[in-house]
């Protein structure tokens, strides 16, 4: 299992501790402490996952997140000290897949990282349709009229989860469990933000979604194909 993790954090002690824990779990960590150098380090290290502190000297975490997301769909997990502020939503909207609130336990962190990397395991060849989209699960591609749409792995997982059971309405909690790997109730803002991001990519008119339909008071479901 691949396990290159780029740790973007200015706190050297925390970065070192993260390194110890990650190495102990079989990951290969690399480090960068400055937001300005983060993108270069990312290109060089080609990590499978980025651990990103939101508060950084130089470029802040939100900006780094946006830059990385602009050129890669690699999973990004934010480290944040503030769980209830807009920071989290802004971070998610700028492309982070998940976040973890300080102080966290090492096991929690590792579980989050593994959940994000889990999908790298080979899926069975499978062809799904949702709306006018064609999804090749093994090939990891989404096409509309032969035109391929670029999605991050998380967005792809979200779409596949919905498309596999088009008859089912998914509550946000169920999606959190299936897509993010949360065992117990977590922040449903994760789902809301990523559904918005997904819609902005796959819907013809994100204001009036046809692929990912909101079921008021319950959750989301796949649109009719």
């Amino acid at each position: 299992m691949k396990g290159r993790v780029l740790v973007v954090d200015d706190d050297t002690a925390l970065a070192e501790m993260l390194g110890i824990v990650l190495r102990g779990e079989g990951f290969e960590p690399s480090f960068v402490s400055d937001g300005d150098k983060a993108l270069a380090a990312f290109r060089e290290a080609k990590p499978d996952l980025v651990l990103l502190d939101l508060m950084l000297p130089g470029r802040d975490g939100i900006e780094v997140c946006r830059l990385i997301r602009a050129e890669s769909g690699v999973p990004i997990v934010m480290l944040t000290a503030k769980s209830d502020t807009v920071d989290v939503v802004v971070g998610l909207e700028s492309g982070a897949d998940d976040y973890i609130v300080k102080p966290f336990k090492p096991k929690e962190l590792v579980a989050r990282i593994r959940a994000r990397l889990r999908r790298s395991e080979e899926p069975a060849p499978e062809q799904l349709a949702i709306g006018d989209l064609v999804i090749d699960v093994a090939g990891h591609s989404v096409k509309r009229d032969g035109q391929s749409i670029a999605l991050t792995p998380l967005e792809f997982d979200l779409l596949v989860a919905l498309a596999r059971k088009p008859w089912q309405v998914f509550t946000r909690e169920v999606l959190l469990e299936q897509v993010w790997g949360y065992r117990h109730a977590a922040d449903t803002r994760l789902v809301n933000v990523h559904v918005q991001r997904l819609r902005s990519k796959v819907e013809k008119d994100p204001e009036r979604p046809e692929i990912v339909v909101t079921v008021r008071g319950v959750g989301y479901k796949a649109g009719p194909s």
């Binding site: 501790m17 503030k82 209830d84 300080k102």
Partner: protein
């Protein structure tokens, strides 16, 4: 001037009030009073909008007042002017008439003197001759006036000859036109007498006002007769009427103009005042940049300037406070971050050490365990502190959505299961047959309930914990009842204090932070709900969370009584109810309950409960209560964290406790008396 305005208001409501006063008067004496009052009420109803306008609109009041007062002035002026004019007109007429009459009288006298007396004829036709003479006299005298006056000659009122000698010119009715008292005066005296009277005509001409001047004269025969001059005042009346119409028209114009002028002037003054009122309203809503437009240097301008200065100072202060609050929040947020980053490192390091403790010697291994445990505690303390300061800074936001409290309770109970198992107690849910839905923040409600349930299990001394749900009216409630050590008197309010501990010496098994209930109270308050505690020493406690069904609805009561039905006092009362009557039951209550005591006691009817189904003997109360969710809201429930504890001498408590055990069961009040007092109010 409030008195002034009240007086005016009274006047405005005059018809109604006067009517009702009249109605009262009537009612005192006559049986028709109530009917009259009904009529008055019926009449008054359509007047109410006008009364309201009068009370609320200063402009209307000022204009109406001005109109009323100037109406009075105009009327007074008119009366004076008319009086003056009439006096002037009449004086002139009177003088002319008097000289005319005087001339006439002397002419008549002369004629009487010059006409030779015919003694021979005297016997034969004396009366006829004198009458003829008078006729010609009257005609002659009247002809000189060209109908400006008429002349009447009357014989002296002596017996039945009175009307015989009556001669009048110009169709004047001689007898009715001359007033009797004037005739009397004339007949008695020798002077000239005058009087205003109405002149009547014989030819159907309408009567008119006139001046009558009369004198007693002697005719040619020396026979006395009365001669009257009648001057009609038609012209003067016409002139007076003209003056009256002119005055009335002028007065009306004056009134209308005055009203209009007052309206304009008042508006000029009131417009800035109204503007100020409107801006003050907008300021109070929070639009702090609102200012008045100031022009000139008059009083109104000064008002505007003062107002603007006030608004500016207000805005400044509010901005300062907002700035402070922002700084506070910022500080909390910064502390949060600054503390959390090193804590994360320590936490991870501790976990790594903890995982490797098997390789350490016992002392180091135990140290690693302590380090890990205390870090957990430190973490929860930190997050609780931050949560509290978020409430203090007003930064806590409610994310309300309709939730079923049963689900929340289930989650909480399954979370508390391990602790309950360790403590050897069960958590029983009552009243979850129907959905208990409220608009609430699921995360916060779950936090509150987790806190209550964990506390109850922790202090329940291994006895069962009962979680009771109910919904009624606009409120839902969850009560968590334990049968542990309970609360001492006065502690029920203090449990919500920060870092408060019932017994500092008591060991804690789950390292609580001492902030849990404080946060819970804040959470409840954020919902517009209540969190209250009740407890009795040795008899356990009950914590009740009451939430409004919808977020914007104020709470009026709680579906669950704060003091549980199986409280010691309730059981006592229920037991005393059928036997000793209400007297003994209320005696156990605290002083504050005495007010409602007799009523409560009278309402109390006790039914023996089902004997426990072979439950746990150690319990003073059976674990499963046949309790029915109450359908009515608790009207006397108190807002906030208010609560009270049953105060009672310990010996009595002991005896009743023993009695309860001896029964092996309990009696429950089916109609529960409300005993919550006002001491718990915040």
């Amino acid at each position: 001037m409030p008195g002034d305005s009240r007086a005016r208001t009274g006047r405005a409501a005059g018809p109604g009030r006067g009517g009702s006063r009249f109605g009262r008067l009537l009612q005192d004496g006559t049986p028709g009073g109530p009917v009259f009052r009904l009529v008055v009420r019926w009449v008054r109803r359509p007047l109410l909008p006008a009364v309201r306008l009068w009370r609320r609109n200063l402009q209307v009041r000022v204009v109406a007042g001005t109109l009323l007062m100037s109406l009075g002035v105009v009327l007074l002026l008119g009366l004076v002017v008319i009086g003056q004019v009439r006096n002037g007109l009449l004086d002139a007429k009177e003088k002319a008439a008097q000289s005319q009459a005087a001339g006439g009288f002397s002419a008549a006298q002369d004629r009487a003197a010059t006409t030779p007396s015919v003694p021979g004829e005297q016997d034969r036709g004396r009366t006829g001759a004198s009458v003829n003479w008078r006729s010609t006299l009257v005609e002659q005298l009247a002809s000189g006036g060209q109908s400006a006056y008429n002349v009447v000659a009357l014989s002296l009122e002596t017996g039945n000859t009175a009307s015989r000698g009556a001669r009048a010119s110009g169709e004047v009715d001689p007898t009715t036109s001359i007033p009797a008292d004037l005739r009397h005066n004339v007949a008695q005296g020798t002077n000239t007498y005058q009087k205003f009277a109405r002149i009547q005509y014989t030819n159907g001409k309408p009567s008119e006002a006139g001046l009558v001047i009369g004198k007693r004269l002697n005719d040619a025969d020396g026979t006395p007769y009365e001669l009257y001059y009648l001057f009609p005042l038609t012209q003067e009346e016409d002139s007076l009427a003209l003056v009256k119409t002119t005055l009335a028209t002028a007065g009306l114009f004056l009134l209308v103009l005055l009203g209009a002028i007052t309206w304009l002037m008042v508006r000029q003054v009131l417009t800035p005042v109204r503007m100020a009122a409107g801006i003050a309203e907008r300021l109070s809503v929070g639009k702090l940049q609102e200012r008045m437009k100031v022009t000139g240097e008059d009083d109104i301008a000064r008002l505007g300037e003062a107002f603007n200065k006030m608004a500016q100072n207000l805005q400044l202060k509010i901005q300062q406070l907002e700035e402070l609050s922002r700084m506070q929040r910022r500080f909390v947020s910064d502390v949060s971050h600054e503390l959390r980053t090193p804590l994360t490192t320590v936490r991870m390091a501790a976990d790594v050490i903890h995982d490797a403790r098997a390789d350490f010697d016992p002392v180091t291994a135990r140290s690693a365990e302590l380090l890990g445990d205390q870090l957990d505690r430190f973490e929860s303390l930190l997050s609780d502190l931050l949560e509290i300061s978020r409430f203090d800074a007003g930064a806590a936001a409610l994310e309300a959505a309709p939730i079923d409290l049963r689900e929340v309770v289930q989650r909480v109970i399954s979370g508390a299961e391990p602790l309950a198992e360790r403590k050897g107690s069960r958590v029983v849910v009552v009243g979850d047959e129907q959905p208990v839905v409220a608009e609430a923040d699921a995360r916060r409600v779950e936090r509150v309930l987790r806190n209550l349930v964990v506390n109850a299990v922790e202090h329940g001394e291994g006895r069962d914990v009962i979680v009771k749900l109910a919904a009624a009216g606009g409120a839902v409630a969850v009560a968590v009842r334990d049968y542990g050590v309970g609360l001492k008197p006065g502690e029920a309010t203090r449990v919500f204090n920060r870092f408060w501990r019932a017994d500092p010496a008591r060991a804690r098994t789950t390292g609580g932070t001492g902030l849990g209930l404080s946060i819970a109270v804040e959470d409840a308050r954020l919902h517009g709900g209540w969190l209250q505690a009740w407890g009795e020493a040795g008899g356990g406690s009950q914590f009740r969370l009451t939430l409004p069904r919808t977020a914007d609805e104020p709470l009026r009561g709680s579906p669950i009584p704060l003091e549980p039905e199986d409280s010691r006092r309730n059981r006592e009362q229920a037991a005393a109810g059928p036997a000793g009557g209400p007297g003994r039951g209320t005696a156990a209550g605290t002083g504050s309950a005495a007010g409602g005591g007799t009523g409560a006691g009278a309402r109390l009817s006790a039914v023996p409960a089902q004997p426990p189904a072979g439950g746990r003997q150690a319990l003073p109360v059976p674990p499963r209560m046949p309790s029915v969710p109450r359908a009515t809201a608790d009207p006397t429930a108190l807002p906030g964290s208010g609560a009270r504890v049953v105060a009672r001498p310990s010996d009595q408590a002991g005896s009743t406790g023993a009695a309860g055990d001896g029964d092996g069961g309990e009696a429950m009040a089916s109609t529960r008396a409300e005993r919550e007092d006002g001491t718990g109010g915040r």
